[in-house]
C-alpha cells in the first residue's frame, strides 16, 4: 500500500515540480508569475496535439516551447511595458482558458478532450519525466547557487539597481528567467497531458498551476524547497487518485467531491499554518524603472 502510494506520488509529482521550479525562477528574478496556470495549459495542449503528429518526446518539446512563448508575452507586458505583474498573469490565464476551450471544440469537435496519444515509454516503471523531475531541482539549485548567472539572478530579484550599477542589464536577465519559467511550466503541462494522462482534458491543469505557485511560497522561493513542497502537494493529488482506485470502499464513506477538494484544501491549510514569514525576494512585484533611483 505504501509502495503504491509512493508510486502514485512519483507519477503525480512531475507536473507540479516542473511548474513550481518555473515559478521559482521567475519570482527569484523579481517577476511575479501567476500565469503559470495558463502556461501549463498551453504546454499541455500543445504537447498533446503535437504528439498526434510527431513522436511524443518532440511533442513534449513543443509543449515547452508553447509555455515559453506565452511567458514571452508575460515578460513583454511586465518588463517592457511595466504592467502590473499579477494582472498580466491573470489575463494570460483567462486568455489561455478561453483559447484552450475554443481550440478543443473548434479543432477536435470535442468538449472534453483531445484524442489519445502514445505516452512516453516507461523507464523502470515510471515515465522519463518522473526521473527528470527528481534530477532537475538539483540542477536548478546548483545553477542558482554556483554560477555567475545564478548570482545575478538572485541579485536582480533583491535589488535590480545594484545589478544595473555593475553594468549588467536588468531587462534581459529578467526576461530570460521569465522565458525559462514558461518553458518549465510548459514542461509541467506537457507532463500532464503526455505522462500523467494521455490527452489534453478541457480543464487542464485544473488549478495545478496555482498549486505550483503555492508550493513555491511554501518552499520559500528555493528550488529544492519548491520541489519538495510540490511533491508534498502531489501527495494530496495522489491520495485522491490512488484512494479512488485502490480503496473503492472509501468512496462509500467519503464523497467524491470531498476527495476532489482535498488537494486544494490541503494547500490552503499548509499556507495558512506557515504564516507570513515573508522571505520573498525584496524586489518582487516591483517593475524596474531605471529612471527612479
Amino acid at each position: 500500500m505504501i509502495l503504491a502510494l509512493i508510486n502514485s506520488i512519483l507519477d503525480a509529482a512531475p507536473p507540479l515540480v516542473f511548474a513550481a521550479l518555473g515559478a521559482t525562477l521567475s519570482e527569484r528574478a523579481g517577476v511575479v508569475n501567476v500565469g503559470i496556470e495558463g502556461m501549463m495549459r498551453a504546454g499541455a495542449f500543445a504537447a498533446a496535439v503535437a504528439a498526434l503528429v510527431m513522436p511524443t518526446p518532440l511533442g513534449v518539446l513543443v509543449g515547452m516551447a508553447a509555455g515559453a512563448a506565452v511567458a514571452g508575452l508575460h515578460g513583454w507586458l511586465t518588463i517592457r511595458l511595466r504592467s502590473d505583474q499579477v494582472v498580466s498573469g491573470m489575463a494570460i490565464n483567462l486568455v489561455m482558458l478561453a483559447l484552450g476551450t475554443f481550440l478543443l471544440e473548434a479543432v477536435f469537435n470535442s468538449p472534453s478532450s483531445t484524442p489519445a496519444i502514445t505516452q512516453l515509454p516507461l523507464w523502470f516503471g515510471h515515465s522519463p519525466l518522473t526521473w527528470l523531475a527528481i534530477v532537475l531541482p538539483f540542477i536548478v539549485h546548483y545553477a542558482i547557487r554556483s554560477t555567475p548567472w545564478g548570482l545575478r539572478l538572485r541579485a536582480v530579484g533583491e535589488k535590480p539597481q545594484a545589478v544595473a550599477a555593475m553594468g549588467v542589464r536588468v531587462a534581459p536577465l529578467r526576461f530570460g528567467a521569465v522565458l525559462l519559467s514558461g518553458a518549465l511550466a510548459g514542461l509541467g503541462g506537457a507532463a500532464l497531458s503526455t505522462a500523467t494522462l494521455d490527452r489534453f482534458e478541457h480543464h487542464m491543469p485544473s488549478g495545478l498551476g496555482f498549486m505550483a505557485v503555492a508550493a513555491m511560497v511554501f518552499g520559500r522561493w528555493t528550488p529544492l524547497g519548491a520541489a519538495g513542497a510540490a511533491a508534498f502537494f502531489a501527495f494530496g493529488n495522489a491520495l485522491r487518485i490512488g484512494l479512488a482506485s485502490s480503496a473503492p470502499g472509501l468512496l462509500e464513506v467519503v464523497p467524491k467531491g470531498v476527495l476532489l477538494a482535498l488537494p486544494y484544501a490541503l494547500t490552503l491549510v499548509v499556507l495558512s499554518v506557515q504564516g507570513a514569514k515573508n522571505v520573498a525576494p525584496a524586489a518582487l512585484g516591483q517593475p524596474y524603472d531605471p529612471e527612479l533611483r
Partner: protein, 497 residues
C-alpha cells in the same frame, strides 16, 4: 584627465544641464556643489554612463568617447558611489563587489578566489572589512566602504561620491575624508558632490559651482568663503536664517507628551518629554530607532511596555486616527509613501487625515464644496504651485509637495507636531520656508518633535537634543552645550566618562 565639454541634457521640458564644461584632473579632490536640481548629480551621471547627453562630449585624455553604460564607464576607470546604495542586502560583501565580473572556474563561481582578491583590494587601500559578512548586517558606514571598494576593485582612477556624508556620523565623515585624501595622494581623482559648504571647503582642492544647469564658477578653497559659495549657488540673496523667536520667559512650559520607559519593537526603555513651545530634536545614525520612535508617537506602531502620556493622560490605545483627533500632526519623511497619495488629486490629499469629519465630511458623505474651499485657501496660504486643486498630487514638484503636506498638517493647528526629515531633497529657499514654519509653530506654543539624520539641521533648530543609539536614548544635550564630537560619539553608542 577627463574633460566634459559643453554638455547639455534635457529632461522633459527642462534643461537639466546647459552647456556645462568641466575638467577632472588626476590627483585632485574636486567638489561639485549646487542646490537640489542644479545638475550636479546629472553631470556625473553623464560621466558615469547613466545619462546620455543631448549635446557635448566626454573626453578621456583628449579623445572623445561615448560612455553609454556604467559598464563602459568602469572600463574607462570611472566609478561612482550613489546616495542610495546599490548593494544587494542578502549577499556578502565579496559577492556584491564581484557581481557582474565574477571569477569562474570551469563555469562555476569561484568564490574563494573572489574573496582573496577582494581582501587584497581592501588591504591595498586600507579598508577594514569582513568580506564574508552579509551586507545587511553591516553598519551604514561600512556599507559605504563596500560601495567604495566595489569601485576600487575594478581599478578605477576617478571616484565620484554623491552626498556621501548624509548618512554618516561626524567621525565617520572624518574617516571618509582621510580615505579620499589617501586616494588623491596616490594619483586618483576624487569628485565629491555635496551641498554642505563647510565640509566642501575642508575636503576640496578645487570647487565647481552649478546653478540651474549652468556652471557659474570655479574656486579654490583658499580664495573663497561659505557665503560666497552660497551666493553663487542661488544667485540672489541667501535667505536669512529663520529666526527662532524670543523665549517669552514665562517659566517652564507644560509637558505635552511624555514617554516613560517605553519599549516597542525597535525601542528599548525610552523616556522623554516634549514641552509646548519647544523643539526637541532626535539625532542619530539611520536605523537606530528614530523611525520607530516617530511611528510610536504617531500611532503607527504599538508599544509593548511603559507609559505613553499625552497632556497628562496615560493612554492605553493609540492609532493615527486618535492621534489626529487629539491634535497631533505628522510630517513624515517619505512624503510620497506616507503623507501623500500620488494618484489622488491635491484636494483629496488635503482632506487625508481629517476626511472623516466636518468640514470635509457631511455625515457619511464627502463635502465637496467645503473641501474645495479649504484647499484653495491652503494652496494660496502656502504658495503651492500650481494652484490647481484637481491636479494629480504626483505631478507637483518635490518642494511643492512638501509645502502642501506642511500646509495641510499645520492647518489643523496641532498641539503636537512630529516631523521627520523635513527638508530632505528641497532647495535652499524651500528649506528656509519649512524651517520658518517650524519656528512659527514653536512660537505658537506647539510642541515639536524633530527627527532628522542631518545633524547640522538638528543642532540648528532644536532647543534640546536627544541622541538615539540601538533603540535607546544615549545622550541628552541642551542648546548651548552642543558639542559635535561628543554627540558624534553618542551616535555610535560610546559612553565616555
Amino acid at each position: 584627465m577627463i574633460e566634459l565639454r559643453h554638455i547639455t541634457k534635457r529632461c522633459g521640458t527642462t534643461l537639466a544641464l546647459d552647456d556645462v564644461s568641466l575638467d577632472v584632473r588626476p590627483g585632485e579632490r574636486l567638489a561639485l556643489i549646487g542646490e537640489n536640481g542644479a545638475g550636479k548629480s546629472s553631470l556625473m551621471n553623464v560621466l558615469y554612463g547613466l545619462y546620455q547627453p543631448d549635446a557635448g562630449e566626454v573626453c578621456f585624455d583628449g579623445r572623445a568617447v561615448k560612455v553609454k553604460t556604467p559598464a563602459e564607464a568602469l572600463v574607462r576607470g570611472v566609478g561612482m558611489v550613489h546616495q542610495h546604495f546599490t548593494l544587494v542586502p542578502t549577499l556578502t560583501v565579496t559577492e556584491n563587489v564581484v557581481l557582474g565580473h565574477e571569477p569562474t572556474k570551469g563555469g562555476r563561481l569561484d568564490l574563494a578566489r573572489a574573496r582573496r582578491e577582494v581582501d587584497a583590494t581592501c588591504a591595498k587601500f586600507g579598508f577594514q572589512l569582513d568580506t564574508g559578512a552579509v551586507v545587511r548586517e553591516l553598519s551604514v558606514g561600512s556599507q559605504q566602504k563596500v560601495e567604495i571598494v566595489k569601485a576600487l576593485h575594478r581599478g578605477v582612477k576617478t571616484l565620484i561620491l554623491d552626498e556621501p556624508t548624509a548618512v554618516l556620523t561626524p567621525q565617520e565623515a572624518d574617516e571618509l575624508f582621510a580615505v579620499t585624501r589617501r586616494l588623491s595622494d596616490e594619483g586618483m581623482a576624487v569628485v565629491l558632490i555635496s551641498h554642505k559648504l563647510r565640509e566642501v571647503l575642508s575636503f576640496a582642492t578645487r570647487i565647481a559651482v552649478l546653478r540651474r544647469g549652468k556652471k557659474v564658477g570655479e574656486r579654490t578653497p583658499a580664495e573663497t568663503t561659505e557665503d560666497e559659495l552660497a551666493r553663487l549657488m542661488i544667485s540672489g540673496d541667501v535667505p536669512l536664517s529663520p529666526q527662532r523667536g524670543e523665549d517669552r520667559g514665562e517659566g517652564p512650559k507644560p509637558i505635552r507628551l511624555s514617554l516613560t520607559n517605553l519599549s516597542a519593537p525597535g525601542l528599548t526603555n525610552v523616556s522623554l518629554d516634549v514641552r509646548a513651545g519647544e523643539i526637541l530634536g532626535i539625532a542619530g545614525v539611520d536605523g537606530n530607532g528614530q523611525r520607530e520612535l516617530a511611528e510610536v508617537v504617531t500611532g503607527l506602531r504599538p508599544w509593548t511596555s511603559g507609559t505613553f502620556t499625552l497632556d497628562g493622560r496615560a493612554l492605553t490605545t493609540w492609532n493615527p486616527r486618535l492621534a489626529h483627533q487629539s491634535g497631533l500632526a505628522h510630517i513624515p519623511e517619505d512624503r510620497l509613501r506616507r503623507a501623500l497619495i500620488s494618484d489622488l488629486t491635491v484636494e483629496e490629499n488635503v482632506s487625508l487625515g481629517r476626511h472623516q469629519s466636518a468640514p470635509f465630511a457631511k455625515g457619511p458623505f464627502i463635502d465637496f464644496t467645503q473641501r474645495r474651499t479649504i484647499t484653495t485657501a491652503l494652496l494660496e496660504a502656502n504658495d503651492v504651485r500650481p494652484r490647481e486643486p484637481e491636479l494629480r498630487a504626483g505631478g507637483l514638484s518635490g518642494g511643492n509637495q512638501q509645502k502642501l503636506v506642511v500646509g495641510r498638517e499645520l492647518d489643523a493647528k496641532p498641539k503636537l507636531l512630529v516631523v521627520v526629515q523635513p527638508t530632505r531633497g528641497l532647495d535652499i529657499a524651500a528649506v528656509a520656508a519649512v524651517r520658518e514654519k517650524l519656528f512659527a509653530e514653536r512660537q505658537r506654543g506647539c510642541a515639536v518633535l524633530l527627527v532628522s539624520l542631518d545633524l547640522d539641521e538638528v543642532l540648528e533648530l532644536s532647543d534640546r537634543v536627544l541622541v538615539m543609539y540601538a533603540g535607546s536614548i544615549s545622550g541628552e544635550f541642551q542648546k548651548g552645550e552642543f558639542d559635535e564630537r561628543v554627540i558624534g560619539r553618542r551616535m555610535l553608542g560610546v559612553k565616555d566618562a
